[in-house]
Every structure is written in C-alpha cells, then in structure tokens.
C-alpha cells in the first residue's frame, strides 16, 4: 500500500496531506512567536522609566524592508499561479524575484541594521548625576511638558578603549542630535527620517554612569527582545529562501515534468510559510520601529 493523498485531495476532507501539515506547523509557529511577543509585553511593562527607547530604529529602512517582504509575498503567489497555468518560465522568474527579495531583506538586516547597533553607544546615568548632565538631557523641559524623562546619553564612543581600561575615567561621546539640542520641541518625539549624528563631544564621567555599552543584546531588555525576535525571524526568512532556492533549481524541474501539480503543491505550502514569515514581520515592524 502507498500513502494516499500526497498530491490529490481526500474527498471528504478536501485537502492533500501537506496542506494540513503546514497549517499545523504554522499554528505551532504562532505559539512560538506568541511566547516571544508576550515576553515583549511583560518586559516593556516592567521596564523602568527611560529604559525602553522610542524611535531609536531606522524607520525608513524598516519600511523598505516591510515593502520588500510584502512584494515577495505577492511574487510567490504569482509563481504558484504560473505553475497552475503550467507556465514554467514565468514561475522561474517570479521565484527568482521572491528569492532576491528575501536575500535583500536579510542583507539589509545583517549588513546595515545590526552592525549599526553594535557601533552605537549608550550610557545610563545614575539618578544622582542626572542634574549634572541636564544641559544634554533637557529633563526640566520634558517635565514641564509631562513627557517621559531621559536617563541615557547615546551616540558614538570616541575613546573605545575606555570600556576596557579602568585608568580612563570618562567616556567621550559624539552625541546623537537629541542630546545636542535637548530642549528643541522637535526633539520631543521620534522622527521618521533619522537625524545624523553630531560632532558635539560630551564627556561623561564613569563615576556618574550606572551602566554603559554598545547596543548589544545585554544593553537593556529592549535590545534583548529586538535581537532575539528579529534574529529568530531572520532565521525563518533564511529557511524560506533556502527552500525556494531548492524549488527554483533544475532539481525541481524534474518534479514539474513528472507531475506539475506536485511542484505547485510544494510552492503553495512553502508560500504559506512565507506569508506567515511576512505576517510576523508585520507585527515586528510596529512593535520595535514605531511604537
């Protein structure tokens, strides 16, 4: 006996096997990311004032990546439709575009977004020292307006050796624009277009600092969740791209020649996974970039 319904539908359920399988798998994935998003909620609610940065990520780049993923979701459907119409050549091109979209997304993430964070420096100030750095923080101004106060000075660290060398007693930071002009009402809220770093060097004494470092996962719970969730999402994108490459290569053409419906089913199933990965990003983007 052979396993039935691998390609054709079972009459009473109206489904072939892998279609049920992928939906179940996606249900499980929902729970996986659900666990991570509930961690996001827990940690964000628990975060002390000033420890959950707003508007820190690059919104235009995030928007572009969102558009790329959505576009790839469209092309994968077109690829599937082309197979259904038995147009292998069109399928080949649509699949190529889908793969390229996935690769561009990952490249932006790994070449630009993540390394940018690893170069960015932040120093949380001790509560007693906040007044000392008032000219950079502008907390009096924020207090008047009823906005959340700032406890961290961020920018680019000039003397990187200060992180390791205990004989150096201060950090020299080329601060982000917000700290160069903290009372400017324009700085009260995050911007869509990120402002370029300034040349203004602020010297922060180590004795005034509670905790300082680059924007790595251990910097605060925001970056911990950011890197974990985008990292896991990135692994999903990578997995999808690898599967698509397999289906785009000549190996899969043999399946097409044997039974075109078989390849169409495979593309449908992996396309469902791809839409799911896209959907997760639709949650990731507002949670980290916008809110």
């Amino acid at each position: 006996m052979e396993i039935p319904y691998t390609v054709s539908n079972r009459p009473d359920t109206g489904l072939w096997n892998a279609k049920i399988g992928i939906w179940l798998f996606l249900a499980s994935e929902v729970m996986l990311f659900g666990g991570l998003f509930s961690a996001y909620i827990f940690l964000r609610i628990d975060a002390p004032p000033g420890h959950w940065p707003h508007g820190l990520l690059n919104v235009p780049v995030g928007t572009m990546n969102t558009a790329i993923l959505i576009a790839s979701s469209v092309t994968v459907v077109l690829a599937w439709a082309a197979l259904k119409m038995r147009k292998y050549r069109a399928y080949w091109w649509y699949m190529l575009i889908t793969i390229l979209c996935g690769v561009i997304f990952l490249t932006v993430k790994l070449v630009y977004e993540w390394p940018d964070k690893f170069q960015h420096f932040g120093a949380y100030l001790k509560p007693a020292a906040l007044e000392k750095y008032e000219q950079y923080l502008g907390n009096h101004h924020l207090e008047e307006k009823g906005l959340p106060l700032r406890t961290e000075i961020t920018g680019h660290l000039h003397n990187k050796e200060a992180l390791k060398d205990p004989n150096i007693h201060e950090y020299e930071v080329a601060v982000d624009p917000i700290y160069a002009d903290p009372t400017n009402p324009q700085m009260d809220r995050p911007h869509f277009w990120p402002k370029h770093a300034t040349d203004k060097i602020v010297t922060i004494e180590k004795a005034d600092v509670e905790r300082a470092g680059f924007f790595t996962p251990d910097h605060n719970t925001f970056f911990a969740t950011y890197f974990t969730i985008t990292g896991l999402h990135g692994l999903h994108v990578l997995g999808g791209v690898l599967v698509f490459i397999y289906m785009w290569l000549p190996v899969s053409k043999k399946i097409y020649q044997r039974n075109p419906e078989h390849l169409a089913n495979r593309v449908e199933v992996s396309g469902l996974f791809w839409h799911f990965v896209d959907l997760i990003w639709i949650f990731v983007f507002p949670l980290f970039y916008l809110l």
């Binding site: 006996m1 396993i3 961690a39 974990t228």
Partner: protein, 626 residues
C-alpha cells in the same frame, strides 16, 4: 481515483518483490534509518524504556541519600565518583550539587525522554496508523527526522552529565533567576556546561515533538480507512489526537522561553533577571529589568498541558485493554471522546495553578483555581466510564489487563489528592512538600507507566508475532504494584507532616519531624520508601528479560491473539511494510464485543453488518450495549 486503485493491489506480505513499491532494504535502512512507522515506533519505544530505567536509576541513587544521609553508598559509591567526575560522590558520599543534578535530570529524563517518547511517540507511531487502517504516517521522512531529533536531544542530555561541573542542577523546571546564573564561572565551560546543554538538548526535543505532532494529526485526519468515521475511531486514536494538539501548541512557548534563557546565558541579556540582582554578595553585571515570573508563565504554559500529554495516551491504552478484556463495549464512548476534547482544551488554561505562591494576585488565582477544578470533571468522567465498563463483563485477568485495572485506582488516588492542591489556601501549606511529589507520581508512575507496561504486553504480539510470557508478566506486575504504593503512599503522610520536597538530607535535621506518623517519624519513613524503590528496581528485571527473550522464544500466535475488534488486529503479525494485505474498510464502531446474534464474542471493525445482528442501531458509531 488512482490512489485507491493502487491501494487495492494485493500484496503478499511474505514476497516483497511482488509490488513495485516493495524492495528489500539493507539492514541500516530497514532497522536504523527507517521511515517505516512501525520501526520508528519500536525505536522510540526501546530508547524510551531505556531512558525510563535510567531516570529511575538516578532516583534510586537519591533515595540512598534520603534514607541514609551523609553515609557512603556501598559497593558502587566510589565508582560513581569516578564515572560522574571527581567531587560528585567524594568517598562514596553524595555531594549536594550532585544530588541537585540527579533531581533535575530525573524529572527531565522521566518526562521528556521516557514517558512522552514511549506513550506518545512509540505507541502512537506503532499503533495509530494500524488502528486507522493506514499504510504509514503521512510524512514518513518527517517521522524519521522526529526520531533522530529526539536521539540528538537525548545524547545532549546524557553528555551533560559528564561535562565539568556535571548536569543541570536547577530542577526540571529550571526556574530563573537560579537557572540563569547556575553553572557559570571559572569552573565551567561557557557552552559545555550542564544548564546550557540542558537548554540546547531541549530545543532538539521540542523539534522532535513538533514534527511528531504535525505528522500524527495529519495522519489521523487524512489516512483513516474507508468507513472509519470520526465516531468509529478507537478511543486510543482520539487520545493521541488530542495529545498531538497539546504538544503542537504548548511546546513552542517553552521553546521561546528556552531561546530567551539561552540568550541570558550566552549573550548576557536579562530576560529573566530582575534589576538589582546580587550574586554571591556582589551586584551582578547585568542590565536587569527582566522578569523571573515570565519564565514560570512560559514554562507552565507547556508544563501543564504536558501533564495531559503524559496521561492521555495512558488512558487510551487502558481503554483499549479494558474493552478487550472485559469483552464488553467501552461504556460511554461519546462522553469519553468529548471529555478528552474538553480536557485538552481546558489544560491550556490552568497553568498558573503551579504558581500560587508567586504573588500573582487573588483575581488571577481565583480564575485559575476555578479552571483547575473544572478540569477535574472530564477526568472523573473518563475514569468513571472505565470503571463502569468493567461492570458485568467477563473479565480476563491477563498481564495487560492487570496493569490496566491497576491504573484505575492509582490514577484515582493521584487525581483526587490533586484537588486540595487546586485550592490556593490549602496549597499554601502543601506547596513544595512530599505531598505534591506523591500526588503527581501517583498519576505518572503507577498511573501512566503502568498503562505503558499494559500497552507493551498488549501490542507485543502485533509487533513480533509472539506473546510475552504470562507468568513472568505477573511476577513483574505484583511486586511493582506493591512497591509503587509503599513508595508513594507514605509520602502523603510526610508531606502533610510538612516535609519539604527539596531537602538534601531527607529531613534529618528537621525539628517538627519528631512527630510520629504510624510509628515512624517523617525522616524514618524514608528508609522503607527507599527499600521499596530498590526492590521495585529488581522487579523490573523479569520484564527486561521477558521483553528480549520473547522476541525469539515467546509463544507464536495468530494475527489476533486477544480476539480484539480494532483494525490493527486484521494486519499480519508483524505487519509488513505497507501494513495491510488488503485495504481495510470499517463497517462498525471500535468496540463490538459480545454482539447479540453473533456466534463469537467479538466482531471486528472490518466485518460487514449482517442481517442477523440486532439492527438498526441509533448512530453509526454507537456501540450496542449487551
């Protein structure tokens, strides 16, 4: 339909060259890297049984320390120090860290490497496709991948015993912040340390159960034989179906939590580390802001459905064996099916009853207290239906039936003693005492594990074509039953006396322990308990010998030695690759025993309905009550 045409091709099981899909495979492909659900089921079963005995052995070591704290373990104490690394058993005496490792790994191995692989993966793999009349699982390669992911997870867990510093020590629950900061420091490797390996091993095990769960559900939905409608499914299949959903949906949040704990340990994040944490008198170099409660929520979101993952397959096995050996239809089939579905659903909304003492707040506690009490209703329905099924039956007390009937009161004790724990006011007192240990072990040890033994004895002739020895089966059963109760019954007394479950010295230095319970103090009760545990270890020897001896020397039997009704007994024993000689078709419900108007007391599911039967019946799946 071309699929059904190939289904009906007649294959002689003994001549594998007959069909185009039948070709002889080499030893490695046939027995090791097989994609056949029966081989995978047996692989899971044997690995799981070995892990069960390993986990039990860890506990037998702990029982020495509890009964004779601080004394050198005779005979093997010194060699254990050599095997598990210097300092684990110095001079044959158990070190506290090693005791913690044994405790944590006992729980982990028993649940995730022992009971779940045997109850869900082994029985599910071997029996479910046969019972639904399918040639295999829907995704045979995924099935093999599931087993090998399990094997990788098991090896990682075993390796963790032998890395510097020993295995995980923070309990099978790995509560944070303790587990976050455990096994760290100059004496530990950053990656190859007990707790980190525990986490990595777990990711492999979760992958395995995810692949298995997807496969099981799809198989049950898609590959049911013609005529095998949902209400004609054997109860065992229903139990596995719900179990698969629990694994599918409850494990991923734990995986998320495990990824976060790995990040905490490897990337120095603070998911579960609160601000201001002081370790060994020094403020920790962490960002803080994390939530230890978050771990507990995510852990128990798996942890509680997991309890039902442990028990539901056991209930399924017991249902099959009770119906078969009482020669009566299972009583209340429909209510059993709906109970198991309700149980599966409710098991997702009771998890926080493991966290009464974390200060969640009374509103949250009240909610979870309510759901916890509601979930006892379907459990009681299932147990009652099993008891009523015995009523008026002509019961055969063979070995599987002995284990299955012992399951009923044992599970009953375990379940009823859980009700005081469901009330948070009573739990204030009983929390973290031996009472809790006794409660859940009554469900899992003499409950589930007895059901597993019952299943092994019951389906052994299907897997091998030979019976296990009845006499040695009984020699296995009676000492196991007595020892189980000598082990766990006194623990209720110890726990109600206030004995804490995590004491390394067995409560020797415990002031309240001078009170006597039935002539012995709480501490003194450890001695008979420990001896019962070791005797129970000996009582497993007849089973082990019987299991392997019967493969070649057991009594040869026909395809249906128990005179059972479900479809797996229509296949040859052992079933060939592809399972059935002719395509099975189901014409009736799963438990048509002692049907009036028939000349034998069992009517198999593939026997067409004859005019002599007392017809018509109410619904297709409704068993006829004799």
């Amino acid at each position: 339909m071309d699929a059904s045409a190939s289904l009906e091709t007649h294959h002689d099981p003994h001549h594998h060259d007959a069909g185009h899909d039948h070709h002889e495979l080499g030893f490695w492909r046939k027995y090791i890297f097989s994609t056949d659900h029966k081989v995978i089921g047996i692989q899971y079963g044997i690995c799981g049984l070995i892990f069960l005995f390993m986990g039990f052995s860890l506990m037998m070591l702990m029982r020495w320390q509890l009964a004779y704290p601080g004394q050198a373990l005779p005979l093997i104490g010194h060699s254990l120090d050599y095997i598990f690394g210097k300092g684990s058993m110095p001079d044959g005496k158990m070190a506290p860290e090693f005791y913690n490792t044994l405790g944590a790994m006992h729980g982990t191995i028993m649940i995730f490497l022992g009971v779940v692989p045997v109850a869900f993966a082994a029985f599910g793999n071997f029996v479910v496709p046969l019972q639904i009349g399918a040639p295999d699982m829907t995704f045979p390669k995924v099935n093999a991948a599931s087993f090998w992911a399990f094997a990788v997870g098991g090896v990682i867990m075993l390796v963790s015993f032998f890395v510097p510093g020993g295995g995980a020590k923070s309990g099978w629950t790995s509560y944070t912040p303790l587990a976050d900061i455990a096994d760290k420091g100059p004496n530990f490797h950053p990656l190859m340390n007990g707790q980190t390996l525990w986490l990595i091993g777990f990711i492999a095990l979760i992958t395995s159960s995810l692949l298995g769960a997807v496969n099981f559900i799809t198989t049950i939905i898609q590959l049911r034989a013609k005529g095998l409608t949902w209400m004609r499914l054997p109860f065992f299949v229903w139990a596995q179906f719900v179990t698969a959903f629990l694994l599918l949906l409850a494990f991923p949040p734990l995986e998320a939590a495990i990824v976060m704990q790995l990040m905490d340990r490897l990337a120095a994040t603070s998911f579960f580390l609160p601000a201001g944490l002081v370790i060994n008198g020094a403020p920790a170099d962490i960002s803080g802001g994390g939530s230890p409660l978050l771990w507990q929520h995510l852990f128990w979101f798996l942890g509680h459905p997991e309890v039902y993952v442990l028990i539901l397959p056991g209930m399924g096995i017991v249902a099959e064996i009770i119906a078969n050996n009482s020669r009566k239809p299972l009583w209340g089939y429909k209510s059993l099916v709906f109970s198991v579905l309700v149980l599966g659903f409710l098991s997702f909304i009771v998890w926080a009853h493991h966290m009464w003492l974390t200060g969640m707040g009374s509103a949250v506690s009240a909610f979870f207290q309510t759901t916890t009490l509601i979930i006892s209703i379907p459990s009681v329905i299932i147990l009652s239906a099993f008891f009523i099924s015995l009523w008026g039956g002509s019961i055969r007390f063979n070995t599987p039936m002995l284990f299955a009937t012992a399951f009923l009161p044992m599970f009953g004790i375990g379940g009823l003693t859980g009700i005081p724990l469901a009330f948070n006011s009573a739990d204030l007192y009983l929390h973290d005492t031996y009472y809790v240990i006794a409660h859940f072990h009554y469900i899992v040890a003499p409950g589930t594990i007895f059901a597993l033994f019952a299943g092994v004895y019951f389906w052994y002739p299907k897997a091998t074509g030979r019976m296990m020895n009845e006499f040695w089966g009984k020699v296995h059963f009676w000492p196991s039953l007595i020892c189980m109760n000598v082990i766990f019954l006194p623990m209720f007394l110890q726990g109600m006396g206030g004995m804490h479950r995590r004491w390394y010295d067995g409560g020797q230095g415990w002031a309240v322990g001078a009170d006597r319970i039935w002539g012995l103090t709480g501490f003194q009760w450890n001695t008979p308990i420990s001896w019962a545990a070791w005797i129970m270890g000996l009582a497993q020897i007849p089973f082990i010998i019987n299991f392997f001896w019967s493969i070649r020397h057991g009594k040869k039997v026909n395809d249906n030695p128990w005179e059972a009704t479900t479809l797996e007994w229509t296949a040859p024993s052992p079933p060939p690759h592809g399972n059935f000689v002719t395509t099975p078709v189901a014409y009736r419900g799963p438990y048509e025993y002692s049907l009036p108007g028939t000349d034998k007391d069992f009517t198999m599911q593939n026997e067409p309905v004859t005019p002599t039967e007392r017809t018509p019946r109410k619904a297709s799946g409704e068993p006829v009550l004799a």
